[in-house]
Subunit: 268 residues, 2 copies
Amino acid sequence: MNNLPIGVFDSGVGGLTVAKEIMNELPNENIIYFGDTARVPYGDKSRETVTSYSRQIVEFLMGKEVKCIVVACNTASAYALETVRHEVDIPMIGVVKPGARTAASATRNGRIGVIGTEATVRSHLYNDYLKKLSPNVSVFGKACPLLCPLVEEGWIDDPVTEEILRRYLKELIEKDIDTLVLGCTHYPILKNAVAKVTGENIRLVNPALETARELKKLLEEKDLLSSGTAPVKHCFYVSDGADKFRDFANSILPCEIIETKDVNIKKF
Amino acid sequence: MNNLPIGVFDSGVGGLTVAKEIMNELPNENIIYFGDTARVPYGDKSRETVTSYSRQIVEFLMGKEVKCIVVACNTASAYALETVRHEVDIPMIGVVKPGARTAASATRNGRIGVIGTEATVRSHLYNDYLKKLSPNVSVFGKACPLLCPLVEEGWIDDPVTEEILRRYLKELIEKDIDTLVLGCTHYPILKNAVAKVTGENIRLVNPALETARELKKLLEEKDLLSSGTAPVKHCFYVSDGADKFRDFANSILPCEIIETKDVNIKKF
């Protein structure tokens, strides 16, 4: 059981920021990553659609005998995790709760901003969970639909990206937030550009990192850590466009991906 | 037969620019529009995926007894039209050929630019068809993945959009093009911003308008024009997010949409 891989899935390439943090925190673990690139983005889709897609991917990962599943997608964590986790007998964690917990303990003035896709912001899941943790916090959400394509264009350290961030973040800064959750898996790649706009007084929370830390704790608690005796091997699957996925993955992961396989996910 | 509706489909909201031009050119015709909002965008998907999605939508529209089908999506026109048109017994036209024909006759120096999604540009369909029409033209494609989200954000007449357009169009202007095809259905909404960057010496080709004109000719030739005796009624269907679709549609169409219906397109 311990040497089985960890399943990680996302609507596309964004969840690779979570895979990257898992590789850093848990260097002995094998990862099976699934990116649903044929149906990306999940951000505009309904709760029912996202839940049905997530269920198919979980079935695919279960077929690969994973020991746990990380939902490395804010939209799927928001819409699907609570339903689908009860349908399997292995642990499943999402990116929302670890990010929310860190934000709740980081804030000093109780004013927290959350940026993400339209669905993540509209779903209010960060808000709901933050309010459960600290009933007195005020949470301000802002949908930033241009940020994912900017990341995928590679316009990372770029004046256009900074100007767009300034616009998106203006109303949050005016709300006097002291903590900002990067509530979409693409956004950690823009962390430096965000920090330039928010300045030193706003603490940035990276749910990808917090999720990897929480996963480590979970595997320790359940005695599921890999024995570390075999060489590490990660596998990457996508529902469309394996070559394009591999190029992006190689630009952000600490290891080189040689092969990415195409999967007909609708069969699951 | 004549009073049956015209089927129009797109991966999402973009094809509404084509529906709008059809409403202007053919005010007596009824339109049944399908926007595949659950699976948008098609731009990043493979030829096989886009063909299979298009086939499902064509079956849905055939079930609504349309007299012809307009593929109001550049990616689907590029990847799926040639295959799917042979599977039905009603006329089908796409947006690529009308746009290409206009561009080929408009150019004076034989240097034509095409902007679009990654798939449209990578597919080389505009290039191939333009070369068939005029073997000596030079065609320069440029993928502009940020433009659709900018349109959907409503940042239409905006300095950020102009700066992004300046970057995207710089290399095409340097190639000394005299004609530019707006090769994605969202782009006609940015026509004024594009014109500011390209200036007076570059002729902009709007395939949405050219497609509506070609459709009019086709219906005249086949004696399929509506008799115009009944009040016009348009119907809108989407695979996800009917409310959001309706808001966007109402911001660009010359008529008010009261109702948009959700369809489970995967059943087709």
